[in-house]
């Protein structure tokens, strides 16, 4: 029996962001939101572990109230329950990770915590190792293959220039890569069934974190525009190829 927590973040769909030319800031309002891609890989892996060893999966999110809708998608995929903790204004990684750590302690008797290798909006990879640090648990980062058995877990980890196999006793924190698995799509039955699964809402003060100051403040956010010529050749292939070669020659790239 494994008591597993999956940390999942609601993010804006970064592919949809545009930069406002007059303010030179990325426009974040009105952009569709979703669960950060790799967090679904983390949940898929948790489901596979549960299928093998039995147990329970709790999805935990620090985020705005509307994240509840997105947590439901994860319940439909196979998580048993959700926990939503409100994200305080100006919260940094210190606060978000500590809230999650305290949530994990409050839940109690946890065997494994799974996170994504990084979130798609910030791409920091901080939360997993921060939770492991707070709780003083082992951390198995960048895992692309995980084997769990009662009381312990082994991971093959992509450390860039090396592949590292690490084994740890539970409780432990794992962060997973995009390659670890293919997240399942919930069936209609599962989507309907997820309505009955609970989503608990815990407050920041009940986790003892209401007076915690952020360690990092965001002073500014500048947009980075990318302007390209967007000249596209289609239709006649011979002509297209000729025109492209011509352009490249003009740009001085065929020297």
């Amino acid at each position: 029996m494994m008591n597993i927590i999956v940390c999942a973040k609601q993010v804006v769909d970064v592919g949809e962001i545009k930069v406002n030319p007059s303010t030179n800031k990325p426009v974040l309002e009105g952009i569709p939101k979703k669960i950060s891609d790799i967090d679904k890989n983390a949940l898929e892996e948790a489901i596979r572990i549960k299928e093998k060893l039995g147990g329970k999966i709790t999805v935990m999110t620090v985020g705005p109230p509307d994240a509840k809708e997105k947590i439901k998608e994860l319940l439909a995929m196979g998580a048993d329950e959700g926990v939503l903790i409100p994200r305080p204004q100006g919260a940094d990684y210190h606060i978000v990770s500590k809230l999650l750590s305290k949530g994990i302690e409050k839940l109690g008797n946890v065997d494994l915590v799974l996170c994504g290798e990084a979130s798609i909006d910030m791409f920091s990879g901080q939360v997993g190792p921060r939770i492991a640090g707070f709780l003083d648990w082992p951390q198995l980062t960048y895992s692309f293959k995980v084997e769990a058995e009662a009381g312990k877990v082994k991971a093959h980890r992509n450390m860039g220039d090396r592949m590292v196999v690490t084994e740890a006793s539970c409780p432990a924190v794992l962060t997973v890569t995009k390659e670890i698995n293919e997240p399942r799509l919930p069936s209609l039955m599962q989507i309907l069934g997820s309505a009955r699964k609970p989503i608990h809402e815990w407050t920041v003060s009940e986790l003892g974190m209401d007076k915690e100051p952020a360690r990092v403040l965001e002073k500014d956010l500048r947009g980075v525009k990318m302007e390209r010529k967007n000249i596209v050749f289609k239709d006649d292939m011979d002509n297209a190829v000729e025109q492209l070669a011509e352009k490249l020659a003009k740009e001085g790239l065929l020297g």
Partner: protein
């Protein structure tokens, strides 16, 4: 005091250069930490590159392990009380820095490519939203931890006459609940994407690893000779080694010419090549997002386009 730690010596030199600048502005010193068995000449080299002090811990650690290294650095930071800790943004550094930060209740800024002092404050800038934005972040408490990618800063030249303090420290490691069972070098083809002038990249539009010879040939006629790829080609299919991987989680490149063949142009790929001079896309889907990020594009089957393009370019060279 500014403390630096890098698992790769070359980035260590770059961190020292930045640390030197920050420390000088605040009238403080630079301290580098060296961990492991083969630390003989490294401490000397760090001093020649600008460190004032090097703490050497010849630990029993056989392989890099974030639990042990964060325990060691936690001790060093509590003793030396630095304002800033700079850590190389390798994967080792990226799992180490936040763990250390949580042990110290400190702020941490990941992958900063600018770090500077304004008045009393220490600020860092980093790319966010897959390249759509740059966040300017400021530490409200010290120490602040920053991870820094390679080549963000230029190293100082080695000064053989420079002297400094080398301190050997025995730091006892506590027993850990994790154990490294195996370490294997990843396949690498020694590609240097960062310095390449022309890069030709392939994506999942290629049907088999054998077909990569098509873009190899294009790379050759362009006299670029450097192959890049999207994440699935390296990480899922393993048709090319990971040193070819371009993108948010791979290499950031800025060649004069970047050609994307059979790559859809998801933002995570574009994040790695958006600073290129001229971007060319070849894709059979006219609606593929790559065309929004390209200067020139051809809508067509790469299996037909590439041989023709290679011929047309040969004519013009």
């Amino acid at each position: 005091m500014v403390v630096i730690f890098s698992d790769i010596k070359k980035i260590g030199f770059e961190l020292i250069a930045k640390a030197r600048e920050l420390a000088d502005k605040r009238g403080k010193k630079v301290c580098a930490v060296v961990i492991g068995k083969d630390t003989g000449t490294m401490a000397q080299e760090y001093i020649q590159r600008g460190a004032d002090k090097v703490i050497v811990t010849g630990s029993s650690m056989e392989h890099f392990n974030a639990e042990d290294v964060s325990d060691i650095l936690e001790k060093v930071v509590r003793e030396e009380r630095p304002d800033v800790v700079l850590i190389a943004s390798t994967k080792d550094g990226k799992e180490l820095a936040p763990r250390l930060a949580s042990k110290l209740d400190a702020g941490c800024i990941s992958d900063a490519n600018r770090i500077y002092i304004e008045g009393d404050s220490i600020l860092a800038e980093r790319v966010v939203y897959s390249g759509n934005g740059v966040a300017v972040e400021q530490f409200s408490t010290l120490p602040g931890i920053v991870t820094v990618p390679g080549k963000a800063f230029d190293p100082l030249p080695a000064d053989p006459g420079r002297t400094g303090e080398i301190v050997n420290r025995d730091i006892e490691l506590k027993p850990q609940r994790s154990r490294i069972m195996d370490v294997q070098e990843m396949r690498s083809e020694g590609v240097n994407l960062e310095d390449a002038e022309k890069i030709v990249s392939c994506g999942r539009g290629f049907k088999s690893s054998d077909d990569i010879k098509l873009i190899k040939e294009l790379a050759q006629v362009l006299k670029g000779n450097t192959l890049g790829c999207s994440r699935p080609i390296a990480a899922d299919l393993k048709w090319l080694s990971e040193d070819h991987w371009v993108g948010l989680s791979g290499h950031k490149v800025k060649p004069k010419l970047y050609v994307a063949c059979g790559i859809s142009g998801q933002i995570q790929h574009v994040a790695g090549m958006r600073d290129s001079g001229v971007i060319v896309a070849i894709n059979k889907d006219a609606d593929a997002p790559i065309f929004n990020s390209a200067d020139y594009g051809i809508v067509g089957d790469l299996y037909q386009v590439l041989p023709k393009l290679i011929e047309a370019i040969k004519q013009k060279m």
